[in-house]
C-alpha cells in the first residue's frame, strides 16, 4: 500500500495553488476569480495542516489554518459586497471589461 505522506499533501497543495492562480488569471466572472483566490488560500491551509501533522511542529499549523478559514470567509463577504456593487454599476461582473482606470 502506498503510504500517504507529506509529499502527497504538498503535491495536492501545489496543484490546488496552481489551479487557483490559473483560475484567477483566466476566469472572466469575478465570482470565479474569487473562487480561485479561495483555492490559493486553501492550498496554503493544506500546507499548514500537513506540515503540522507530519513534521511534528505542534498544533500551530492547524490553528493557523483555522484563522485562515475565518479570514477567507470575511474576505469573501467583503468581496461579494464589492462585486454586488460592481454589478449595480456595470450590470455585469466580467472583470476584463472593468478597465476604465488605465494608462
Amino acid at each position: 500500500m502506498l503510504q500517504v505522506g507529506l509529499t502527497h499533501f504538498l503535491v495536492v497543495s501545489a496543484i490546488l495553488f496552481s489551479l487557483g492562480v490559473y483560475g484567477i488569471v483566466t476566469r472572466k466572472n469575478a465570482v470565479m476569480v474569487l473562487m480561485g483566490i479561495e483555492l490559493v488560500l486553501n492550498a496554503a491551509n493544506i500546507n499548514f495542516v500537513a506540515f503540522s501533522r507530519f513534521s511534528g511542529f505542534g498544533l500551530g499549523g492547524q490553528m493557523t489554518a483555522l484563522f485562515v478559514i475565518v479570514l477567507a470567509a470575511a474576505e469573501a463577504a467583503i468581496a461579494l459586497a464589492i462585486v454586488l456593487n460592481i454589478y449595480k454599476q456595470f450590470t455585469n461582473v466580467n472583470i476584463d471589461e472593468i478597465d476604465h482606470l488605465k494608462d
Binding site: 504538498l10 497543495s13 495553488f17 487557483g20 492562480v21 484567477i24 469575478a30 476569480v33 474569487l34 483566490i37 490559493v40 488560500l41 492550498a43 496554503a44 491551509n45 500546507n47 499548514f48 500537513a50 506540515f51 513534521s55 511534528g56 511542529f57 500551530g60 499549523g61 490553528m63 493557523t64 484563522f67 485562515v68 479570514l71 470575511a74 474576505e75 467583503i78 468581496a79 459586497a81 464589492i82 462585486v83 456593487n85 460592481i86 449595480k88 454599476q89 456595470f90 472583470i95 472593468i98 476604465h100 482606470l101 488605465k102 494608462d103
Partner: protein, 502 residues
C-alpha cells in the same frame, strides 16, 4: 496573568484604538439623525492613542510571550522602531481626518460617515499590529485586517464607476497577493517549523532546509509585502486604485499603508534574516537568500518605472501614484545597504515623504473640490489666481524632487549618504539620475500652474481658514526640515531599535 497584564500594558495604544473603534461603531448605531460628532470621536480616539504612544515611546519589550518557546519571545514587539512608525500612522490618520473635513467627496456621504471612520480606525488597528508583529500568523491577520478595511474604503463613496472599479481591482489584486504571501508563509513554516520570526531566524542560522523552497517562500512573501509598499513589479494596482479611490483615501494609502508595509518589510528582514549587527551598524545577513540583490533590483526597477511612467500621466492623482511608487524605490534603497545608517535614512525620508506627499494630495484635493479638475492640463494659470495654494504646491513638488532648501533634499541626502557609505555608487548614480527624470513631471505641474497661459479665465481657489491652516501645517515643516533637520534626525536616531535576538 502577570504576563498578560504586562502585555496589555505594552499595547495600550492598540487598546485605546480598539475602544475608540467600539465606541464609534456603537455611537453610529445609536445615533441615526445627527452624525456630525462621529468624526470627533475618531479624532479623539486617535489623539488618545497618540498620547499613549508618546507615553510608551521609551518602553520596549515583547507582548504575549510564548513561554513554551526558548527565551522571551512574543507575538508583538514593542520597540522604538515600531513606535516611530505608529506615530507616523497616527499623524497621517489625524491629518486624513482633517482632510476628510475638507473633502467634498467625503462630506457628501452624511449617512454612512460612521462607517467611514470605523473602517479607518480598523485599518489603523491593522497597521499597528502589522508594525509590531513578530509572528507570521499575526502578520497575516493584521495585514488582512488592514486590507479588508482599505478595500471598502477605496470604493466607499460609490459616487462614480471608478470608485467601485478601484475597490474591485484592489480587492482582487490584494487578495491574490496575500494569498501568495500566505502560501509562502506556509512553506516557510514547513521549512522551519515555526511562524515566529525569531525562531525562524535561529533555524536559518544552521540551515538544513531546501534552499530552493526557501527562496520560493521568500519571494512569495516579498510579493505580499511588495504589494503593500507598491514596489515594482507588484505595484500594478497602485495607479488604478489611487485614481479611482476618494482622494483622502488615496493620500492615506500612499503614506500610512506604505509606512506599515515598510515597517513590516524592515522588521521581517531584520529579525528573520540578519544574524547580527556589527559595531559600525552594518547588518550581517544569514547566507540563505540573497536579499540584497533582490532588493537592489526591485528598488531600481521601482523607482525607474515609477518615474518614467509618471512622465506620461495627466491625472494628478495618477501622477502622484507613480510618484509614490518611485519614492518607494528610493525608500528601499535605505534598506538595501543593510545598515543602521540606511534605516536612519528610511526613517528620516518617511517623515519628509509624509509631509510632502500629503501636502501635494491636499492641494490637489482642494483644487479638485473647487474646480473638479484632476487633470494637470486644466491647472493652467492656477498659480496666479490662487497664489497661496500655488506656492504651497510648488514647495511640495520641489520637495518631492528633492531640491534644497526643502525637506525632500534632506531625505535624499541621508539616503545617498547611506549609499555612499556602503560604497554602492552605481546605485546612487542611478537613483540620482532618476531624481532628475522626476523633475520632468513634477515641474510639469508647476509649468501648468504658472507658465502656461490659461485658455479661459481660471477659477480662483480660495481656501478657507481650515484648509489654510492645514496647508500651512504641512508647508512649514517641509521648509523647516530642509534648513534645520537636527530634531528630525535626532528623533529618527532614537528610533532605530528593532527588538531582536542579539
Amino acid at each position: 496573568m502577570a504576563n498578560l497584564y504586562q502585555s496589555l500594558e505594552l499595547i495600550k495604544p492598540e487598546i485605546a484604538l480598539s475602544i475608540a473603534l467600539i465606541v464609534l461603531v456603537t455611537c453610529d448605531l445609536i445615533f441615526h439623525k445627527d452624525k456630525k460628532f462621529i468624526p470627533y470621536i475618531a479624532l479623539g480616539g486617535l489623539l488618545i492613542t497618540g498620547i499613549f504612544l508618546l507615553a510608551n515611546s521609551s518602553v520596549s519589550g515583547f507582548a504575549f510571550i510564548q513561554t513554551d518557546l526558548m527565551g522571551k519571545i512574543g507575538l508583538v514587539a514593542v520597540d522604538s522602531f515600531g513606535t516611530f512608525f505608529k506615530l507616523l500612522v497616527i499623524i497621517t490618520s489625524i491629518l486624513i481626518v482633517f482632510f476628510s473635513f475638507s473633502s467634498e467627496e467625503i462630506q457628501k456621504i452624511t449617512d454612512r460617515i460612521g462607517e467611514y471612520y470605523a473602517l479607518l480606525l480598523g485599518m489603523i488597528l491593522g497597521m499597528f499590529f502589522l508594525i509590531s508583529a513578530t509572528d507570521l500568523i499575526l502578520i497575516y491577520l493584521s495585514l488582512e485586517l488592514m486590507s479588508l478595511s482599505s478595500y471598502v474604503l477605496a470604493g466607499f463613496t460609490k459616487l462614480r464607476d471608478r470608485n467601485s472599479e478601484a475597490a474591485l481591482k484592489y480587492l482582487i489584486y490584494g487578495s491574490v497577493s496575500s494569498g501568495l504571501m500566505l502560501f509562502g508563509i506556509s512553506l516557510l513554516y514547513g521549512l522551519t517549523g515555526s511562524t515566529n520570526l525569531y525562531v525562524i531566524n535561529m533555524m536559518l542560522q544552521s540551515p538544513n532546509a531546501n534552499m530552493f523552497t526557501l527562496a520560493f517562500a521568500n519571494i512569495l512573501i516579498l510579493a505580499g509585502i511588495g504589494y503593500k509598499i507598491s514596489a515594482a513589479p507588484f505595484h500594478f494596482w497602485t495607479p488604478d486604485v489611487y485614481e479611482g479611490a476618494p482622494i483622502t483615501i488615496t493620500a492615506y494609502l500612499s503614506v500610512a499603508s506604505k509606512a506599515a508595509g515598510f515597517a513590516l518589510l524592515i522588521r521581517f528582514i531584520k529579525t528573520t534574516f540578519v544574524s547580527f549587527v556589527d559595531s559600525t551598524g552594518n547588518w550581517q545577513l544569514i547566507q540563505v537568500f540573497d536579499w540584497k540583490s533582490v532588493l537592489i533590483a526591485l528598488s531600481i526597477l521601482t523607482m525607474t518605472l515609477g518615474n518614467f511612467s509618471a512622465i506620461w500621466q495627466n491625472n494628478i492623482k495618477r501622477m502622484l501614484a507613480f510618484s509614490s511608487i518611485a519614492h518607494a524605490g528610493y525608500l528601499m534603497l535605505g534598506l538595501v545597504v543593510f545598515s543602521n545608517g540606511g534605516l536612519l535614512a528610511i526613517l528620516v525620508y518617511f517623515v519628509i515623504y509624509l509631509l510632502m506627499n500629503l501636502g501635494a494630495f491636499l492641494v490637489a484635493m482642494l483644487i479638485a473640490n473647487k474646480t473638479g479638475f484632476e487633470d494637470i492640463n486644466d491647472y493652467n494659470g492656477l498659480g496666479h489666481t490662487s497664489p497661496f495654494l500655488g506656492i504651497a504646491m510648488v514647495i511640495f513638488l520641489v520637495s518631492l524632487v528633492g531640491l534644497p532648501p526643502t525637506a525632500g533634499f534632506i531625505g535624499k541626502l541621508y539616503l545617498f549618504i547611506a549609499l555612499v557609505d556602503a560604497k554602492m555608487l552605481a546605485v546612487a548614480v542611478i537613483a540620482l539620475l532618476n531624481s532628475v527624470v522626476s523633475l520632468y513631471y513634477y515641474v510639469r505641474v508647476i509649468k501648468h500652474m504658472y507658465l502656461t497661459a490659461p485658455e479661459k479665465e481660471t477659477q480662483a481657489v480660495k481656501p478657507n481658514l481650515h484648509d489654510t491652516i492645514l496647508v500651512t501645517v504641512l508647508v512649514i515643516p517641509t521648509l523647516l526640515f530642509g534648513i534645520y533637520f537636527q530634531p528630525l534626525v535626532n528623533w529618527a536616531k532614537n528610533s532605530l531599535e528593532i527588538l531582536g535576538l542579539m
